[in-house]
Amino acid sequence: MDDLLNEFLTETSESLDVVDVELVRFEKDPTDKAVLNNIFRLVHTVKGTCGFLGLPRLESVAHASENVLGKFRDGELEVSTEAVSLILKSIDAIKTILADLEANECEPEGDDKELIDRLNDIAAGKSSVAAAASIAAAEKTGHAASADTFANGERKIQPVLGRDLLPGEVSLADLEAAFNAAPGPDQDAAADTLPQLADFEDEENIQDVLVQASSPAPGARAKAKGRTEDKEPSAKNPDTSVASQSVRVTVELLEDMMTMVSELVLTRNQLMQIVREQDDSKFKVPLQRLNLVTTELQEGVMKTRMQPIGNAWQKLPRIVRDLSHELGKKIELQMIGADTELDRQVLELIKDPLTHMIRNSADHGLEQPKKRKDAGKNEIGAIKLNAYHEGGHVIIQISDDGAGLNIDRIKQKAVSSGLATEAELEEMTDQQIGNFIFKAGFSTAEQVTSVSGRGVGMDVVRTNIERIGGTVDVRTTAGAGSVFTVKIPLTLAIVSALIVEADGERFAIPQISVIELVRASNNSEHRIERIKSSPVLRLREQLLPLVYLRDVLRMDKKAPPVSSDTAAEGVADMRGKDDFVVVTQVGGFRFGIVVDRVFDTEEIVVKPVAPILRHITVFSGNTILGDGSVIMILDPNGIANIYGNIKVEQDEAKVEAVIADDKDKNVSLLIFNAGDSTPKAVPLSLVARLEEIDCASIESSNGRDVVQYRGQLMPLVRISDNYPLRTEGRQPVLVFADETRTMGIAVDQIVDIVEGTLKIELAAQTAGLMGTSVIAGAATEVIDVSHYLVAAFPNWFEESGKSRAKAPRRILLIDDSPFFRNMLAPVLGQAGYNVTAVENAEQALGLREDGAQFDVIVSDIEMPGMSGFELASLIKADKRWEETPIVAISARGAPDDFERGRQVGFSDYVLKMDRGALLRSLTQTLAVYGEAV
């Protein structure tokens, strides 16, 4: 593209952004001359430049709006919302044309007659008076030529333009006359006082230039002649002094500089290394100096990448202004911390999400003025943007004092879009529900307005923010507003990373995803254990799943690198038994990455990997270390994905939410103490017996505690490793059993059995816990029995199935509650069934389509979408599963339901929590149906 055009485009779009902001300011305070002058100057510059570059369409629009602005300035026209809107509209029109210009390098077809006419109409509001006055004024001041212009008729060729006036253009003479007629500020005073007013004076000069060119020049102004050819009339502005202090450079140049500086740093490091080895080098002093300068240079170059976040906010006042008109709301936008700096690249990426969130706050957050008044609030709604630095991150808060999120509507939407069931929602806090707005396809706006109906949902906002390693969260208070908090890294280019080694190769793990570092060895308290083949680590009363980095990267079978200095020593080191576990969190899922060695943390410059390596998802980039070697940057997300055994989704579901039982249903819960002071609970129906075992009878076998119990060896499992068994007296034990085996969980004390609702308020991070629930007024941890079953018999679920029958009975379990799926599936599995669990009827029917076969179907009744009854009718109506018995499980025990259940084809009907009854029912059902299936 033409350099000149390019520069014009950049400059003009910047100017227009400023105009947007300034116009909004101006509208608020039409008496602010300085602002108006600034606007006028900018629009004028745009117009002038367009003329110079031969862009008639742009020029005519700019001209018409300039005309109106001129009238504002001269006080001939009252500043009205309508007029300002129109000017803003013309600015938009200019932007559209610019966009086309950028894409096609020529002005698009079409004209803006309508817009220009309207601008002219506004300008003409008083222009008849003004024109008459101006003619008189022009004559008075001796500009006879301008009168000539009028006298010669309307279609006069303009000397400057060398062509007819375009629609919307006013002849320069007309303009001049208007100016002369206007009282205008006292020029001397202006020059003395504000620099902005000095600007204004300059504008006069510019006008002079134009006037000069259009009319025979009176001698005094001859010097100005020809200046219309200046590309930039504003070049004469006092502002130029400021402008000349900054230089526009391309981003590529900055990137190149960055690269060169990195290289310089490396070279310096090498030199330092060499000199350090020589005791008495004459290079020492100059090198010290070089060192300092390099560091400063590096910092300086880094700074060139930093920009104030205000740059991303520039468009917001205009947007809010438009919104307030469009929506009929009064909105005040406060911006705090606009000078908070962050990396240019991050800034670009955060712009759109921020804009969207502001729109969202204005559209959905703030109420109509009347409503606000009724609620006793200030009519004017406030949206506040606040940015600040916090520990290597930039925090941006977008808060409004509106109505807060409409939790009920979000609930409806969540249910209708299948994101959660009503039952689950019942158990969620408003904050948790609020976060649904970040889910895909979620818009709570009942009607799509032009404001929010842009196809960008909050899910896109979240995705974009997460893409740059940020997070977004919402807190809402009904009636008092919402606060969105965005946390983004300062820069993408430089991150702090932990350097680790696996199999002789070094890798970087971004510090942000590292939670802690644990050294594991056979003789320390942290020891890597294996459950079957899965490595785990006991870490503060929880089991942490582990992955070996060298397994993830499939490094064992790699060929030795062509020439790697570090490889040789690394391999030797690896023989040591010590391993390091890098505890990492991805979403709500925590796991450990096992590496052989851990080096320091380093600030690394992230560089994208070559395109031919981009498919390897475990790497997020690569970097050059201080010693000049290249290493790959690991992406914990990618590792979690690659390591297929880890089901991130499942865990995420656990964390987000919140395991819920059917509402208001009481279950019997056994409350006990074990380990720490938090009371713990387990559904009583899962417990086979409560026992107290004489401590003397506890034996140790193969490193595990066992006790002889009813003629069998029963393993005793502790709630956590840190919690020892009693050494004397009697040890209370919860006994869990299936037909062949028993397992005991040792506890401190059995406290009580209470009837309570099992509402998991906080999902657990800890293995072995379902989550925390409020039971009998106290925060109580609900334990995950299946976890301990596995701990006692790693193969509990597999073996019981095998021993029972050659082909285990296949059960399809349909339950919308993750709690019950998690609870029942192990129970059924333990009883020897092969369980397939799905969360709704649709999925079940999907399995039927896929040709799956089951011996028995266990289905919940109350489910979102299709209920159990409907499902049963559908199953019975189709040949494929017609013969398969269906057992209903329900939280309700209403006799009506029993009857209805039998009618639609359920074979049996049992209560959810009654584990024994369910198993009996299944045995019976299968016996009745026998081999029918």
Binding site: P560, S563, S564, A610, I616, I624, V630
Partner: protein, 164 residues
């Protein structure tokens, strides 16, 4: 825009460079190969080649060339020759493809030859498929034959592998 330019360059260049016929020569497992001299940005002895786990076998690793990270493609692997013996000499020839630097690992780099077009010949029909894939044609030199490498082919293959 720049990407488009890149594409044009890649397709234009081999033909244009045919006339100039200045080639950097290199040896891979005893076979002489040539790359148009204008394509070669740098030749250096690679040190600290960092292995990239899970990368295609042709990718020997990544290395640091004056602050740029360069992906190294082992031509022996790429062209189906025996792997280099441990400790054998390696040279890296840096080229660019779509603005990304790549280095081709070869056994040694020879002189720059100015070759007459008359000595150029299309690929013989029995050429090894691995070579045929990347070869533009053969130059008959006095004492040997030189295979002219099409750089985009060498890298595109990897893109194909990625897509597969």
């Amino acid at each position: 825009m720049s990407a488009n330019k890149g594409v044009m360059d890649e397709t234009d260049r081999p033909a244009a460079s045919m006339k100039k016929a200045d080639y950097v020569t290199m040896l891979v497992s005893g076979q002489l190969f040539g790359i148009p001299v204008l394509e070669v940005h740098d030749v250096f002895v690679p040190t600290r080649l960092a292995h990239v786990p899970m990368a295609p076998p042709e990718i020997a690793g990544v290395l640091n060339l004056r602050g740029r990270i360069v992906t190294a493609i082992d031509l022996r692997q790429r062209l189906g020759y025996e792997p280099r013996e441990a400790g054998a000499q390696v040279m890296a020839v840096v080229i660019e493809y779509h603005g990304e630097p790549y280095s081709l690992l070869v056994d040694s780099v020879g002189e720059v030859l100015s070759l007459a077009e008359a000595a150029f010949e299309r690929n013989p029909s029995n050429l090894d498929p691995k070579l045929r894939e990347v070869s533009e044609g053969i130059f008959r030199l006095a004492d040997s034959l030189m295979v002219v490498i099409q750089l985009d082919r060498i890298i595109q293959f990897l893109n194909g592998a990625v897509a597969a």
